[in-house]
Structure formats: C-alpha cells, structure tokens
Amino acid sequence: MGSVQTDQVTMTSSTASRSYLGSAKSVLLLAAGAFMLANMYLIFMWAPTEAVMGHVQRIMYIHVPMAWLAFLAFFIVFVGSIMYLWKRESRWDMLASSAAELGVVFTSLVLITGPIWGKPIWGIWWTWDARLTTTLVLWLIYVSYLMLRAYSSNRSQGALYSAVLGVIGFVDVPIVYFAVNWWRTQHQRLVIGTGSLEGSLNADMRTTLYFSLLAFTILFSFLLWQKISMKRTEEDLRSIRYSKELTRGARIER
C-alpha cells in the first residue's frame, strides 16, 4: 500500500510541474504561429522575385530550412540513441523516437517540395542527383527505424533495437553520400542544366531564408516538445495501470 501512495505523490507533483510546462508549450505554439505568419509575409510580400526562376523559387524558403531541420532531427536521433544505450533511461528513447518521427515528416516534405520545384526548372520531377538520392536513402533508413519500433514485440525491445539502428543509420549516412556522389559524377544523368536550385541569392533573399529557418526551428521545437510530452503521458498511463494492478494484488492478499 505504501508504495502505491508514494506513486500517487510523485504522480501529482509531476502533473503540477507538467501543467506549468504545458503553458510554456502553448507560448511556444503561439510563437511558432506568429513567426510562421511573419515568415509567410517575408516570403510572399517582402522577398524579391528571382529573375531567372520567377515565383516558383519561393519554394526554396521552406524547402531548404526543412532539409536542414531534418538533418538536425536525425542528429538528435543519433545523440538520443547513444545516450539511451549508455544510460538506459526512457527519456532518451522518447527524445530519439520523437525526433525520428519529426525527421521523417520533414524529410517527406523535402522530398515532396523538391520535385515540385524541380519540374518547372529542370523539366523533370526527379533526378538521381547526389543530394536527392542521399535524402531518399536517409528517408528509407528512418522509415525502417519507425517500422522497427512498430513491429517490435515489446517496448523495451523496440527502444533498444531502434537505438541500435539510430546509431548504425547515422554512421551510414556519410558513406551513402560518398557513394552516391561518386556514382553521380560517373553518370551525368541530369538531363537539363546543372545549376543549383538555390541560384544566386541577394541580401534580402538571404535574410528571408534565415528568418524562415528561425521560424521552422521554433515550429520544430514545439512539435518535438509536443511529441515528447505525449510519450511521457503514455508512460504515466502505463504506470497508473501498473499501480492499479498493485492494489488489486493487495486486496487478494488481504
């Protein structure tokens, strides 16, 4: 009975601190919304139209920041995985798996917006260019990470296995990049043009890009926080179920 009571105490105190954090999370959500609105103003109203590509170049202001944040997300997965394998604390697993999910969402969007931008500029949706191909392989690795978690037979096993893949996958990325890069230089497959999509950016475009990166970073932080707190709630739920079973057990003993 005593153990149940201490459980209860820790539960309420953590809930109190969490509701305080919850309001901080709302502030972050508001900040993300405000920055995004300002970002859209900068992108569509303030930034000058690119001379060669025209309006479609404005996709760059969301495409590039999302790609950077996707790489940041996968780096967080790597750090979280190493820390989980070292400390075996579930919070590191929560961090790694939340970042992996966001990384997959961001990479998916990068893979969707890229071809939409490439089609009017290159005339083709997709080219097996070094960066595109590496991004696709990266996406596949982290999709398999999420699948591994979904298909593992219990939670601690899923955490352990995915942490192993979080390390292996990240170490693999530079090797994939080298391979794809050399492979690309041996086969000049790009049908039309070799210019980089970014083109030349003037000072205002650069400012817009950096502001967009800031706005997306705030959005990313909010989403990561939201995802982690969701996983915490799931763990809370499990611990309550466990303590419920404890009281039942106590009753049978009595």
């Binding site: 298909y151 037979s153 296995y161 292996i168 050399w182 492979w183």
Partner: protein, 225 residues
C-alpha cells in the same frame, strides 16, 4: 587470439554441420537467385548490345536478394528451436558468437555466389574470372554478412520478421550495392577504369571496416535481452 578464435570457429562449424544436414540455406538461395536472373532477363530484355550495362545490375540484385534469403535463416533456426538461449548460456563471448555466425553466413553466401557466377557468365557471355570481379564480390559479401548478421538477429525477434529484415538491410547497404555494381561494370564491360575501381573498392573496404567494429558492439547489446 587463439582463445578468441576457437569459439568463433566452433559456432561457424555448428552452422556448417547444420547446413550440411538440412540444406536449407545454400540450395534455396541458389535456386532463388537463378529465378531472379531469369525474371530480370524477361523484364529488361537483355540483348548482346545491352548486356554490358545490364549484367552487373542483375548480378548484384540476384546476389543481394539471395543474401537476404540466407541471412533471414541465420537466426530463425536458432529462434524456432529455442537453441539461441542455449548458445547464449555457453561460456562464449557475444563477440565470438557474432563473428561465428557472421563467418558462417559469409561462407554460405560465398558458396552461392561461386556457383552462380559461372552460370551468369555463360548466360550473359562475360569472363567471370577477373581478379577485380572476385575481389569486389568477396569485399561486398563481407559487407552483406557483417550488417546482415546484426539485422537478422534484430529482425528475428520482431513481429513479421520476413518483412523487417529487407526493410532494415537494403537502405543501410546501398553504398555497397552502388560500389559493387560500378566495379563490376568496370570488370565486365569493355571500359576498365582502374582509378575508379580502386576508389570503389576502398569505399566498400571502409564500409566493411566501420561495420565490423560497430556491428559486434551492437550485437552484444541486442543479445542482452
């Protein structure tokens, strides 16, 4: 060193004996690889003009698929009979267990490839006995076995393990496949680019070295359960 190698060879020998009795892995993957080649021949309509470009790709798709089939069996046999627990109880380090299983898998895959290569050479009319080709096959197969042993031990404990293994394996192994196909194109085709081949072999060797360190470590963690 000798104390380390003895249990490794014992584990490998156990797998070889098992394979000699059951013949589950080598024959099955061999037949499967031949079928892959036949299907690809119809799908891509290989002609004497296009064979130089297509043959290396078909070769490595067949090797990779046959490899996945072989590695999927590596831990299923341990798991189904509950013999994995027995192996883990043996006074053998996790590293020896890993290298033992890896060596067995490497041998099985090499045997399959050694039989398939002459068949391919006849079907697609190229010289199979080039040192470059044999070198890259050995290096790439080592890479397959290194990563495959770890992923096989992971996938076998998940639900729907038949799907999980290729899903885990193929994205990570991409650089090896690219390098192997490029090198084989150099070896089979008329244009032999020595510098290019050397660079690709180095890349595969780096892949092998990195994962020969990482995978035993990861295997030790996976087997803790």
């Amino acid at each position: 060193m000798k104390e380390f190698l003895r249990p490794v060879f014992l584990v490998t020998w156990k797998d070889i004996l098992l394979e000699l009795r059951s013949r589950e892995v080598v024959i099955a993957s061999m037949v499967f690889a031949v079928m892959v080649v036949v299907i690809f021949n119809f799908a891509l309509n290989v002609t004497p003009e296009t064979v130089d470009i297509l043959a290396p790709g078909i070769l490595w798709v067949a090797f990779a698929f046959a490899g996945v089939l072989a590695m999927s069996r590596a831990f299923v046999i341990e798991k189904d009979q509950g013999s994995l627990e027995g192996l883990l109880l043996c006074p053998v380090s996790r590293d020896s267990l890993y290298f033992g299983k890896m060596l067995a898998l490497f041998l099985f895959m090499t045997v399959v490839e050694a039989v398939l290569l002459p068949i391919f050479a006849v079907l697609f009319d190229f010289s199979a006995f080039s040192f470059t080709l044999i070198g890259v096959i050995l290096l790439a197969t080592l890479g397959f076995a290194t990563v495959g042993t770890l992923f096989s031990s992971i996938a076998v404990n998940t639900r729907s393990r038949e799907i999980m293994l290729p899903v885990l394996f193929f994205p990570v192994i991409t650089p090896v496949i690219i390098g192997a196909v490029e090198t084989s194109t150099g070896a089979i085709g008329s244009s032999v680019n020595v510098i290019g081949v050397g660079r690709w072999l180095q890349l595969i060797a780096v892949f092998d070295a990195v994962f020969l360190v990482l995978c035993p470590w990861a295997f030790g963690l996976v087997m803790e359960e």
